[in-house]
Amino acid sequence: MVNIANPILLVVIPLFFTFLIALSGSFLKSGVKYLPVIAFALNLVVSLALIPEVVKNGMVIATTAGFKPPFAIDMAVDKLGLFLSIIASLLGFVASVYNLFYIDEEPQEKFHALFTLLVAGLTWMIITGDIFNLFVAFEVTSIAAFGLVGFHRDKGAIEAGFKYLVMGSIGGSFLLIGIIMLYAATGTLNIVDIAQKTSHLTFQQKLFPFAMIFTGLGIEGALFPLNAWLPDAHPAAPSSVSSILSGIMTTAAIYAIIRLTNTIFDFNQIYFFLMIFALLTLIFGEVSAFFQKDIKRMLAYSTIGQTGLFFFAFSLNTVNGLQGAFMQMVNHSLSKGMLFLVVGGMIMQVGSRNIDDFAGLGRKMKVSSFFLAIGAFSLMGLPPFFGFWSKLKIIFAALQNANAFLVASVVIILLMSVVEGAYFFKLLQVMFFGKQEKDVAVKEASYGMLFSVVVLGTVLLIISFYPSPVIDFMHKAAAEIINKNYITLALKLGGL
């Protein structure tokens, strides 16, 4: 019997099903839509099976082609990677269930193939242990996303897709330049191996590859000012795709930055700079979100703001800060993923993305609205939801070694949280207490779509009310990354 606790399966299973969809698309017709569900159910099983091993050893490393890592590509799942890949699989699973009822446009088999590929690419980005492989995963993700953003083929979708494509490929090129710089400096591509060999490099020599990789990943990670594609692309995509893009893509890209920064580029001088990026991202995201009339665009801007928040926490470069960042990442993935799914169902019923048309939905789509409220509360950081714990942690961490700048940043963060509260409460009050002008027949979303929402919402509620396992786990994960245990563990487990 094959040991299924192998991270490589997280990538290979969806790829297998992608090609299976291509193969069977012509004769299964719309039956292919069940294939992604199977794929991500399997993925979920695999990622859950990884838990015991990761908890025991701190990391699981899978090699390819039967060679030892610096000579072949390896997949390395550490604690946070595991958590994120569980979330990716979960979100992929629920979103593909959602797709069963949501996608009725042709060409279905292409959509489902690309969707599977997108989630596979994101998981891949999270778990890969090889820097060029990271680039490939980045491209898989991007190109699948370009196609999916344009899926509706209307004016907005095409424009958004094109903008995303241009920015994404510039970013890809920069990422590649950064990678090749590291290769030129060390002659190897394995992350751990590079980390071992960069110690003789000067700060200046490390800064350039870092800047390049940062630019490349920052474009997917939605860092200001590299994120201009995001508010166009997320609304244009079908909601299940927006959910993945918003929920996992930024998180995966930021996680990649975090991992590379703490293994390859262990320098401290850069964090101040990153913090400014984070704060700008936060400010521009939240302020822009406040003025939106289009609900998906508002959520997209809110994603930018959230990214800024957890990137800020990461740039504190302390165990507590990183822990806060990880908690916020988990919170953001679950709640924003859920919000997009909910909103997708609502848009389907209302036929508009304008917030004013959502008036009175709170009475007509009770379950959806309830979960929308929960997601919004968690994003705002209101207790007792998980966002509260993560915001608490981030602020505590930020004030730990407080200087004037950090205090100012905390004030900015909290101000932006107020702005966030302002627009989410505006949305909620329109939904629950607004009067619908037009008399549209609005029903609750179909059970299948609700199923996805309820699953995500339940997970969110569980970790909200019983947060300590997650908090402790994240603390360990953060400590491992900050203490450079990633390298030690990888060396111990044959990652090199």
Binding site: M167, F174, A211, F291, L382, I395, S417
Partner: protein, 628 residues
């Protein structure tokens, strides 16, 4: 026994959920569950009468223990919360009608707010406190916006200001956490005792902003008039009577639980033998009293009038708490209790009127005294208490505050407090006159008094105003015992007031009451004997010889204090709200036209952003990694 604290905290939340689920079965299930669980909470609260329990650990977060505790002061507020909630649940059953408004989650939210407030009061550490504080904010937001379209805007203002206040507290809490790594009250106090003056002042100011927003102390009060008046009738007393007291409770905990007068005196200069921080708080409170009184006088809307009156009365509470002397603090705490009782009573009584007439506009009402006699009597008791007239409860607590100010020789504050009290006469007279006296508009001729379910809570509160008015010792029992824990000198008291000889004037309410009753009876008898006036029917009047038809009934309840308004116009023009609005609008314009326009929609701009970022990096590299 200790586990009961957690059970008690959980009771309202469980009740809320059950009420929601039970409501799906039948609405009476919902009512039954809500009443049962709020009553259970009240009973559980009564168990802790005068008990002191320290540190029931119920969890831990980020290395700080999460603790529940109770002491007599907490119990005082616990009593306010649970008793008022129970009465309000009962009132709601009569008032909130299923067919007018969807109620499936109303009782859940009501109980959640109660639970959150119980959590605040029982919290033994700042994380628990802050968590329940935030829960209270958003659950009460949902209650406020039950009132329909206008209340949505009010609720929005409320929640935004609450969030701002809460985040201000958040910074202070985070500062304390970083310093002490534990947020249990005792540890916080110990930390503050060894901190620099700047740190202490910042902590107190930041926490204070949070509390002042909730307690609606003057510059931060702007949410209250809208929210309290637009909220549904049963919710207003919860907000006015109970919720804003949480701010006072928090202020008390911070000033005397974390700091102490001595400590504050050591690290900052004193004015009138008061640490300057407390002195500033006193002034803010006094300003609230005076300005809110003036504003209340000018209102045309019954609930808005009461809302402004709440700002004014909470001013007394804060003023009392900020005096720093045993008597003053005790007066402040007692006034918190009294205010909860009489303001709850007033709001419920006005709610009853609204229930029958459907309006709360004072100039539309009048002459209801014959139609709603019980409500009238209760409201009369309420306004007497509010105005601080013996023998009802408002008198005693106000007397204590005056006495405390006198002892500290803070004459200006004393005068301001007196003005507030005098002004209160004006607006409460306006209230009762415009609603119950004068002409009865024709459309209200068929009005009846409200059903027993609504009478019951009103009368319970009415009786309480008398009980606490005549037996202030009942409350003093708790307050003095609790204040001893916070290091105050105990004040001597008896069941009926304060004995002579403890550096303050004696007060024996029973005597005053007796005198008053005798005087009242004497006056009434004199009136009966000596009166030369002709008794006329309420509906039989005329003006300048012209018979007034029912359609043209002369009603002078509009612009009641118009001439007075002209006098104080300059004060009313102050317009704190306008200043806020100006800044909010300016920020909005800035955000709209300068910030979000970076997303121009033009791809070449976006691409140049990328290039600029890379260029900055390149410059940094060329400069050898030194960009800053």
């Amino acid at each position: 026994m200790n586990i009961l604290l957690e059970i008690m905290l959980a009771t309202p939340f469980i009740g809320g959920l059950l009420a929601f689920i039970g409501g799906k079965v039948h609405r009476w299930v919902r009512y039954a569950v809500a009443v049962t669980f709020s009553f259970l909470t009240l009973i559980e609260a009564l168990v802790y009468y005068n008990a002191t329990i320290k540190g029931v650990v119920w969890g831990s977060l980020f290395g700080s223990k999460l603790v529940l505790q109770t002491n007599p002061i907490s119990w005082l507020f616990l009593f306010i919360v649970t008793a008022m909630s129970f009465l309000i649940v009962i009132f709601s059953i009569g008032d909130m009608e299923e067919d007018k408004i969807k109620l499936d989650s109303y009782y859940m939210q009501l109980l959640f707010v109660e639970g959150a407030m119980v959590g605040i009061v029982l919290a033994g550490d700042l994380i628990t406190f802050f968590m329940f504080w935030e829960i209270m904010s958003w659950t009460s937001y949902f209650l406020i916006i039950y009132g329909g379209k206008k209340s949505v805007a009010a609720g929005y203002k409320y929640i935004i200001m609450s969030i701002i206040g809460a985040y201000s507290m958040f910074i202070a809490i985070a500062m304390l956490y970083v310093k002490a790594h534990s947020l249990v009250y005792a540890d916080v106090a110990a930390t503050l005792a060894h901190s620099s003056a700047t740190f202490v002042v910042w902590t107190v100011v930041l926490l204070g902003i949070g509390f002042f927003v909730k307690a609606a102390v003057m510059p931060l009060h702007t949410w209250l008039p809208d929210a309290h008046s637009e909220a549904p009738s049963p919710v207003s007393p919860l907000l006015s009577g109970v919720l804003i007291k949480m701010g006072a409770y928090g202020l008390f905990i911070v000033l005397y639980g974390f700091l102490s007068v001595q400590l504050a005196g050591n690290i900052m200069p004193s004015v009138f033998s008061t640490p300057i921080l407390l002195y500033i708080i006193q002034w803010l409170a006094a300003l609230s009293i005076v300005l809110a009184t003036f504003l209340a006088i000018m209102q045309e809307d019954a609930k808005r009038l009461l809302a402004y009156s709440s700002i004014s009365q909470i001013g007394y509470v804060v003023l009392g708490i900020a005096t720093g002397t045993s008597l003053g603090v005790a007066g402040g705490l007692f006034h918190a209790l009294n205010h909860a009782i009489f303001k709850g009573l007033l709001f419920l009584a006005v709610g009853a009127v609204i229930y029958r007439t459907g309006t709360r506009n004072l100039s539309d009402l009048g002459g209801l005294v014959k139609k709603m006699p019980y409500t009238f009597t209760a409201l009369l008791l309420g306004i007497i208490a509010l105005a601080g007239v013996p023998p009802l409860n408002g008198f005693v607590s106000k007397w204590m505050i005056y006495e405390a100010l006198l002892q500290k020789k803070e004459v200006f504050l004393l005068i301001m407090a007196f003005i507030g009290s005098t002004g209160a006469f004006l607006y409460v007279y306006r209230l009762i006159h415009s609603i119950f006296l004068g002409q009865l508009p024709k459309k209200y001729e068929n009005v009846k008094d409200v059903p027993i379910l609504m009478q019951f809570p009103i009368w319970v509160l009415a009786v309480l105003t008398i009980v606490f008015g005549i037996f202030p010792g009942l409350a003093m029992n708790v307050i003095v015992k609790g204040m001893k824990l916070f290091g105050f000198k105990p004040i001597a008291y008896t069941l009926f007031g304060f004995p002579q000889g403890t550096a303050m004037g004696a007060l024996k309410v029973i005597n005053i009451s007796a005198v008053l009753v005798v005087a009242f009876v004497a006056a009434w008898v004199l009136f009966l004997i000596l009166s030369k006036s002709r008794k006329v029917s309420q509906y039989d009047n005329y003006a300048a010889g012209q018979v007034v038809t029912p359609e043209l009934k002369y009603n002078y309840s509009f612009g009641f204090y118009m001439s007075f308004g002209r006098v104080i116009k300059s004060i009313l023009k102050l317009g704190i709200e306008r200043i806020y609005n100006y800044w909010v609008d300016a920020a909005k314009v800035f955000g709209d036209y300068y910030m979000r326009r970076v997303y121009t929609g033009n791809l070449e701009t976006y691409n140049s952003y990328i290039v600029i970022v890379v260029t900055i990096a390149a410059v940094a590299i060329l400069l050898g990694g030194k960009l800053w």
